[in-house]
């Protein structure tokens, strides 16, 4: 996973609440078990004219002003809905490395952290200010997000601090493999299971055996 330290670049505004993962990556776009090839499928129902791959000129990411966006700014509850991790793969394979929103769907947020995409949180008033600046044709839609200092710089140069848990920050900055970290705790896991089995033996009883008795 690509480490995340600082991203500076074009930012695209999406001034609505509840952008769901069905919108980010429609189910019909994930027709293979592969983890790649999702960049061109990002926001497919909004980005392309119905039933085609012709760009919808009204969609923000097709606006030349926001071409090559690496950051996305939205309202509340971004990434709500389905757990599909392809929503994050589509964002990162398109080139978006950070989202700024008032809040996130919990599963989407978890998936971001594990794929090198930063889900930064700002209060709604700050989000609205940034959205207004991004829509203002007099200012270039350039922003920066720095995970070392936990700050966001808006197009006008306003600086906002944001908070993120230290473990999640570390994981993003290191590009760490969380599974490997847990596998290193195997002795602790085995010890827990031995203790737990004495307390809750039914949790460890062979499911196959109990099932077989009923057939």
């Amino acid at each position: 996973m690509e480490p995340f330290r600082r991203i500076a670049g074009t930012s695209a505004p999406m001034p609505i609440d509840n952008v769901d993962t069905d919108a980010i990556i429609p189910s019909k776009e994930t027709q293979s078990t592969a983890r790649t090839g999702y960049g061109e499928k990002l926001f497919a129902n909004w980005r392309y004219l119905p039933g085609t791959r012709a760009p919808n000129p009204d969609f923000v990411l097709n606006n030349p002003r926001y071409a090559g966006a690496q950051l996305l700014v939205a309202g509340r509850n971004f990434g709500c809905g389905s757990s599909r991790e392809a929503a994050v793969w589509a964002l990162s394979q398109f080139g978006v490395r950070a989202v700024i929103a008032e809040s996130y769907g919990a599963i989407f947020r978890n998936n971001c952290i594990r794929n090198g995409v930063l889900p930064a949180v700002l209060p709604i008033a700050a989000v609205e200010q940034v959205l207004a600046e991004l829509a203002d044709g007099a200012i270039a839609p350039q922003m920066a997000v720095d995970l070392e200092t936990c700050t966001i710089v808006s197009p006008s140069g306003a600086v906002f601090g944001f908070q993120i848990g230290s473990l999640e920050r570390e994981m993003l900055m290191q590009g760490a493999d969380e599974i490997e970290l847990t596998l290193m705790k195997r002795p602790l896991i085995e010890a827990f299971r031995a203790r737990d089995q004495a307390l809750r033996p039914w949790v460890y009883a062979s499911q196959e055996a109990t099932h077989a008795q009923d057939h």
Binding site: K28, V88, G165, L167, I189
Partner: protein, 471 residues
Amino acid sequence: MTAPRTLVEKIWAAHAVAELGDATDLLHIDRIFLHERSGGRMLQGLAEAGRKVFDPAMVLGTLDHIIDTNPGRTDATKFPGGAEFIAAFRDGARAAGIRVFDLDDPAQGIAHVIAPELGSAQPGLTMVCGDSHTCTLGGMGALAWGIGVTQGEHALATQCLPAGRPKQMRVRFDGALADGVTAKDMVLHLIRTHGARGGDGCALEYAGSAVEAMSCAGRMTLCNMAVEFGAWTGIVAPDETTIAYLAGRPYAPQRADWDAAVAWWRTLRSDGDARFDREIVINAAGLSPSVTWGTSSEQTVGVDEPVPAPGGFADAVARASAEKALAYTGAEPGRPLAGLSIDAAFIGSCANSRIEDLRDAARVLAGRKVAAGVTAICVPGSTPVKRQAEAEGLDRIFKAAGFQWREAGCSLCFYNGGDSFGSARRVISSTNRNFENRQGPGVRTHLASPLTVAASAVAGAIADPRALLRR
């Protein structure tokens, strides 16, 4: 003396393997459910990394997401690419020694419907699945939540997951529901009142006399939509209703284990003085049937109330969101949803496809017909639900009314490129998501209870079921 704890804090403490810092614990995961949409990908990822499934006996699989639900179905899917998903899942599960409830298995069905039916979803268990509606199983008293593919691989490889300690929220529904008002109406009302992010990533315990009086099925509907409320998960404290439901189920604790398990389950309730970060109290007796008007579950009104005008929303982003939703659904501000013509009616999904839901719909449909021009489809949540409904004669009521009677699966809850209602259709649906294009390109979805879906199918327009129940 231990400090007073919530139900979720008690289950959490029983699963904490290690403290990771930053208010995060490594939790033991007692049960993992896989399905063919993401299960194959997880098992492939594991194999590519040279990792093994930690404890295959703690993993179960089913086919639900992309399989065909038409009568006489085979492995062929209407979803392009379906064969690859199914093959990857079967091959991966077989190689790992994971039990799969395949298409020909009498216990097959939607993961969150069969987990309780099998007796696998139990009070106090930690359970995960690569599906956001895994929180449904909180209705059985399990601490259950949805995860992505990477965390699925993590759980399979280590039988553990790191999790941040959630804030604690309790929602009490007090009082008795009126006839015609159901768990679906309760949770839609909650989301409407407090927003699709009102759950704020919390562990949400549903309580109160209306929840205590409810079947496990109703509790699972409440918990199913905890994720639509923006909660991390939902749960209901196990009680005698839960214990009676589980007795004799094949994957429930057996013999001496049963008594020990029941003794533990009876301790799983929030202490009287447990501290919640947030409490919401709702008078269940005052609720009416709920229907969504927009493209988020927070965009809900009572069936006889007017659709709100976007001008009434607090800020520019909320206003723009409401305008976008109204433009998509074509609902008219100031007018009630009742009377709005529909093209299709759907009963199914992990929100509302259990036997109790089908009995509700059949109450309305008995002796009545679906209105001309309305496509009506019922997809039971599991093969056991379908068989039970057929044993009770409900299938004959659905078919006589003009409903399609299908095989179990997720089906038309979401559009994946295969089965659809056609373009720009208005659908009343017992499912949990009314997002743009969720049920097909341009399809406008109105979420409601099975009772309201059945009443609307008969009327050919969104309708209040209470009028039909009184007659």
